[in-house]
């Protein structure tokens, strides 16, 4: 049993990588550019993931857990082991990744038909799936960090798929760099933990925290550091700027990575490390998440690009999950991650379907100016694209929190958590307000999107005849995921009530014990922190109240949307006029990009220029070369002395004297050998004569 889980995990991890390698090296030469290789590989992982899921259900043990690891790097005392941690959360995540990835692969065959880098695109999808599975399976911080970065790279490559567009190239770079900012925190967190605990493995870290090897402020900082990684990946304020830009990538990619899986990795990380987060760290998490939820939703209200709306909605929903972790109900966060993956991926597929259709229609009209993603060019597509419409409507209701749909359950769980948290800590009343406010706005802008796109009169009537439903490869995943946005899948097999989130993914609290469900909260490892059980109990009590409020705000939001966009009871423009700077701020995303550019990027670049100038023009040219000049000057001085005094006066003087003498005695030098010999002999005689006296 154990072996099969690890074996399956290995296969699930490496099959997409294999597909990646094949695609990169041989993709172009294979028939159909090899998309069947990728689809085949990913389908196998899906089957394996389903098998694992079923096996897990058969075991039915919330404490179910397998670990396997190998020593990867061994220096003697310093070792790094890489390994798998397979538990229920892992398996569910694997299933999500495999499912959405498979859908994306199939969807892409049609969406990217004829693209010049078709095979490479599929290769990158494989790389992404590999890395994402790596994050999910990691049993230690180090391998998580490594896959974390690899996910960043695959994101970089896929966002930059159409790199001829400057905006796409910019967006890919921005995504990577923004993520790196978060990763710095992640790495510092890892170092803090490692230097205290001496291991990267989660189990060791939890034990270490429980035994007080790392505690207090250090632990808080470590937790916040790790959370920074999550902020980057899950696009939390203030690192949220990259996700909307990432919509430059192909829409299926947005569905897979920037809605369902990759961005959820941050949430997954915080869920994994929940036991080591101190109350202070959790507060930071909660406030960041809550604020992001509200803040992103307020931007989504005014966006006109259909994908931008969805992007900000994703940021907002991720904020929700982070908020849930921060308030302690991390099972709810995970539950929302699951439901959100389904309906948000579906919404992206739907928007992809619409954009695809728009694109074709515009192409027919030879119109390359009009933006196919702008909702102001759509409208009235309901009858033209019924499958897309109905499926998207279901997902929209799910995200808006309408009962009978999956989002209602998970959102309710989160809101209940925040509410109970506020009941116990009244000073943090802001948190549920964030939550409910965001819920209201979500309902509003999502239905605004539906109404603008599918209802009303076509804004470009000349196009409407060319708008068609997308082919089966695209509608298939849409229908599937639309189906999965209905509540019933998530409450099986334990209850059928659409009002109770108790089910597979959310345990029932019965007499201070968790019953059923696959994911049970683990108590915090931090000594003295409140236990997960207590939090869950509180949330349980707040459940009903949260449910009523959330139904109410959803209803208000939908009504407002209907009133403004269908009934036209209020003029949009007048409203925008009235809102004044609020509207402008929201529409311009609070000028974040502009301000970052002005106060962060440009100063950094200027600093770099200054430093480089300092280094090259000043330090090198004047200081270093100054030594050269100094030496040069000194050598000139000594050279002058050398020539004038030593050479000219002393040396040449000697020479001149010798010359003078030489000229005087020149006559002796006859050049005749005989004379010389004579001189020699005479000299000898003279010497002998002198000697003899």
């Amino acid at each position: 049993m154990e072996n099969s889980f690890i074996l399956y995990s290995l296969l699930i991890l490496f099959l997409p990588l294999l597909a990646f390698v094949i695609q990169i090296f041989f993709g172009k030469r294979l028939p159909r550019e090899g998309d069947w290789v990728s689809i085949g590989a990913i389908s196998i992982t899906l089957i394996l993931a389903i098998t694992m899921f079923v096996k897990m259900l058969l075991v039915g043990d919330p404490e179910f857990k397998h670990e396997a690891s190998i020593v990867w790097l061994d220096m003697g005392a310093f070792t790094i082991s890489l390994g798998f941690l397979v538990d229920n959360i892992t398996i569910i995540m694997l299933l999500i990744v495999a499912l959405i990835s498979t859908c994306t692969h199939i969807f892409s065959t049609e969406y990217l038909k004829g693209d010049i880098r078709y095979s490479r695109y599929f290769g990158y999808l494989g790389l992404f799936t590999f890395s994402m599975n790596g994050i999910v399976l990691a049993n230690n911080l180090m391998s998580m960090y490594m896959f974390w970065e690899l996910v960043g790279v695959s994101s970089y490559l896929l966002i930059g798929h159409w790199f001829e567009k400057d905006s796409a190239a910019d967006a890919s770079k921005k995504a990577f760099l923004t993520n790196r900012v978060g990763d710095i925190g992640f790495f510092i967190g890892i170092m803090l933990i490692y230097s205290a605990v001496g291991s990267f493995a989660f189990t060791d870290v939890f034990d270490g925290v429980a035994s007080g090897m790392i505690a207090g402020t250090t632990l808080t900082f470590a937790g916040v550091g790790l959370f920074m990684g999550a902020m980057g990946k899950s696009s939390q304020f203030p690192l949220h700027i990259w996700l909307p830009d990432a919509m430059e990538g192909p829409t299926p990619v947005s569905a897979l990575m920037h809605a369902a899986t990759m961005v959820a990795a941050g949430v997954y990380l915080t869920v994994r490390i929940f036991p080591i987060l101190t109350p202070d760290a959790l507060l930071v998490v909660a406030y960041v998440g809550g604020f992001t939820a509200l803040f992103a939703a307020s931007i989504a209200i005014t966006q006109t690009d259909i994908k931008k709306v969805l992007a900000y909605s994703t940021v907002s929903q991720l904020g929700y999950m982070i908020l849930a972790v921060g308030t302690g109900v991390y099972t709810a966060a995970f539950f929302h991650l699951l439901t959100h993956a389904m309906f948000k991926a579906n919404l992206f597929y739907g928007s992809g379907s619409v954009i695809h259709s728009m694109h074709h229609a515009l192409h027919e009209k030879h119109d390359h100016e009009t933006d196919p993603q702008d909702m102001h060019n759509m409208g009235g597509f309901k009858d033209k694209m019924p499958i897309t419409y109905w499926s998207m409507l279901i997902s929209t209701m799910a995200i808006a929190g309408v009962p009978l749909f999956s989002g209602f359950l998970s959102k309710d769980a989160i809101l209940a958590g925040t509410l109970s948290f506020a009941q116990h800590h009244p000073e943090h009343l802001l948190l549920p307000l964030f939550g409910f406010g965001a819920a209201l706005m979500t309902a509003f802008y999502m239905f605004r999107m539906i109404f603008l796109t599918f209802h009303g009169e076509p804004k470009m009537p000349e196009l409407i005849d060319d708008i068609h439903e997308s082919p089966k490869e695209m509608t298939g995943p849409i229908v599937l995921l639309g189906t999965l946005s209905v509540y019933i899948w998530y409450t099986l097999p334990n209850n059928l009530s659409p009002m109770s989130s108790y089910g597979w993914f959310n345990p029932k609290l019965d007499n201070h014990n968790f019953k059923g469900g696959l994911v049970h909260p683990i108590d915090s490892s931090v000594p003295g922190s409140i236990s997960a059980l207590e939090i869950a109990e509180h949330a349980h009590h707040a459940h009903h109240m949260a449910m009523y409020i959330s139904i109410a705000v959803a209803a208000i939001g939908i009504f407002l949307s209907w009133f403004i966009y269908i009934k036209k009871g209020l003029s949009v423009n007048a409203l925008a006029e009235r809102a004044g700077f609020l509207y402008r701020w929201s529409f311009n995303k609070y000028y974040f990009d502009e301000n970052y550019n002005k106060y962060l990027y440009q100063p950094t670049l200027r600093l770099a220029d200054k430093v480089s100038w300092l280094d090259w023009e000043l330090y090198d040219k004047y200081f270093i070369n100054g030594f050269g000049r100094l030496t040069n000057w000194a050598s000139k001085v000594t050279g002058k002395f050398d020539f004038d005094v030593i050479d000219q006066l002393l040396v040449d003087g000697t020479g001149k004297i010798a010359n003078l003498i030489g000229r005087k005695f020149k006559g002796v030098q006859t050049g005749k050998l005989q004379n010389y010999v004579l001189y020699v002999a005479a000299g000898v005689i003279i010497l002998m004569v002198i000697q003899s006296f």
């Binding site: 790097l73 310093f78 010049i116 400057d166 770079k173 170092m191 001496g198 770099a608 280094d615 270093i624």
Partner: protein
């Protein structure tokens, strides 16, 4: 296996002599001889690796012969886990370097003769265990380098060559003084192993000008080595020399010659002056931080691709310095944290090797594009990704290796340096993690400007990277990838030696107040 080290050192000289006898117009034959010589040497390094006992942290394959007995100078060679990877890297890069310089047009004979002489010098430095011999080889490297830059370089080659020469000579002089200081204060011997045993004790009792001899000699030798590394503020020769040097020489300069500095510090400064390590470690880590940040910022500002890569070397060697400083973690003062010391020192040594392969790759790739476009202005390209997909792919991997992507070797060594140094230098390490971001920023920005966007009209007939060039890059790529996925073979080689060094530094330090 007898005399294998001597073979390694003198084989290039044999090749050089052979080349001297080939008529200068038989260029292909000259190139082939150089390739055969370096290839043979590379194979020998692999044989050496195969016969190396990685469990043994001491010197192996020792060769000793009397040379100048009156000054106690001998011909003494040996290899351990610190030098073996560098020896292999040297063999590999010189072999590749021959193919990188395959298209040299000017004075082929002289070029390859000098190239092989340089090879001897480098190999000699890594293998000599006699300080005098070490110094001789150190100087032997200098001369061919001067001519290689000065004659085959770019437009400013003479200025660059002179600057390189004087800069390094300055360091060598200081080093010579340091060596002589050691010689006269430690029982008149040049034997490094003997000095390693004797010097820590002998030096600690000597004072010069009111300063401990350890400090004086440490500083002298450190500056000598720091210029090679290069450590800020001794780094400005590097961008110039790199930019002006021909591609193969840049490759060797970045790939091997910079490593000599780090190698020297670990072999000599660490071995001979453990007390100095404690005294200087904070400064070392701090210099590493400056290298990381300064090099990163300078790289970000560069307009010339080769200069960017050159500054990235400054940046990357900073990680090595930070990691090296971590060795003190194993001392009592820092809680005998052997894990950190191993991670740090191992990371530093690993980083040496990785930077060797990665920067070599980067310089080769810059050379490829320069040969085609005849300029290196980053802004001057654009959209090459669609024109040269293979080149783009290879460059992408090289750049990602440079920015420390997991799965490629650079990441592991950087991470090890950080993790090792963290317990001792928390502030410095946290500050230098900004380097992770800067790395990514300058590499990705350059990548975007060169490869992304619309294709620059000028370059729509730029030829794809050819087989010869691929042949030079692919082995490095494979090594980078392999060590990134599975670093164990490398760490096996070094780990016993690292333990020996750490043990030595910790146990030999007298902790005398200096």
């Amino acid at each position: 296996m007898d005399y294998i080290l001597s073979w390694l050192i003198w084989l290039p000289v044999i090749g050089m002599v052979a080349i001297a006898f080939i008529p200068r117009d038989k260029e292909v034959l000259i190139k082939q001889s150089a390739a055969v010589t370096t290839g043979l040497q590379f194979v020998l390094t692999l044989v050496l690796w195969n016969n190396f006992d990685s469990k043994d942290g001491s010197m192996q394959f020792k060769e000793w012969a009397e040379w100048i007995p009156s000054f106690n100078i001998s011909y003494y060679l040996g290899v351990d886990g610190l030098s073996l990877p560098m020896v292999i890297l040297t063999g590999m890069l010189f072999f590749i370097g021959v193919f990188v310089s395959w298209n040299i047009k000017k004075a082929v004979k002289g070029y390859f003769a000098l190239f092989l002489l340089l090879n001897t010098g480098v190999m000699g430095v890594f293998l000599s265990l006699d300080f005098f011999l070490f110094y001789i080889f150190w100087e032997v490297m200098l001369l061919p380098m001067y001519f290689l830059i000065g004659m085959w370089g770019g437009p400013q080659r003479e200025y660059a060559a002179i600057k390189f020469f004087l800069y390094t000579l300055f360091g060598s002089v200081l080093m010579l003084i340091g060596i002589l200081g050691l010689y006269f204060s430690c029982g008149k011997t040049f034997d490094i192993l003997e000095l390693t045993r004797v010097a820590p004790e002998a030096l600690s009792s000597i004072m010069w000008w009111g300063m401990s001899a350890i400090k004086v000699i440490w500083i002298l030798l450190f500056i000598g080595f720091a210029i090679k590394v290069p450590v800020f503020p001794f780094h400005t020769w590097l961008p110039l020399a790199h930019v002006e040097a021909p591609t193969a020489v840049s490759v060797l300069l970045a790939g091997i010659l910079l490593k000599l500095g780090v190698y020297g510090i670990i072999r000599v400064n660490y071995g001979l002056m453990p007390d100095g390590v404690y005294w200087f470690s904070y400064a070392l880590a701090f210099l590493g931080l400056i290298n990381v940040v300064w090099g990163g910022l300078c790289a970000l500002a560069q307009k010339d691709l080769k200069k960017l890569v050159a500054y990235s070397s400054v940046n990357h060697m900073g990680y090595s310095l930070i990691g090296m400083a971590a060795v003190v973690a194993a001392g009592e003062a820092h809680g005998a944290n052997l894990k950190a010391a191993q991670a740090g020192l191992g990371g530093a040594v690993f980083q040496m090797f990785n930077h060797g392969t990665i920067s070599a790759m980067l310089f080769i790739l810059v050379g490829v594009i320069y040969e085609r476009a005849h300029h290196r202005e980053i802004e001057g390209f654009g959209g090459l990704a669609s024109q040269m997909p293979v080149y783009t792919g290879v460059t992408a991997v090289a750049f990602f290796a440079g920015l420390g992507l997991p799965g490629l070797s650079g990441f592991i060594s950087e991470a090890m340096c950080f993790i090792g140094a963290f317990p001792v230098y928390k502030g410095i390490v946290i500050a230098s993690t900004i380097g992770i971001l800067l790395n990514a920023a300058y590499f990705l920005w350059a990548f975007q400007r060169i490869f992304f966007g619309e294709l620059n009209e000028k370059y729509n007939d730029l030829p794809e990277i050819n087989r010869l060039e691929l042949f030079t890059v692919i082995p490095l790529l494979v090594v980078t990838l392999f060590l990134g996925i599975y670093p164990a073979p490398y760490l096996d080689i070094i780990s016993s030696t690292m333990d020996t060094i750490i043990e030595h530094v910790v146990s030999m330090a007298t902790y005398a107040s200096m």
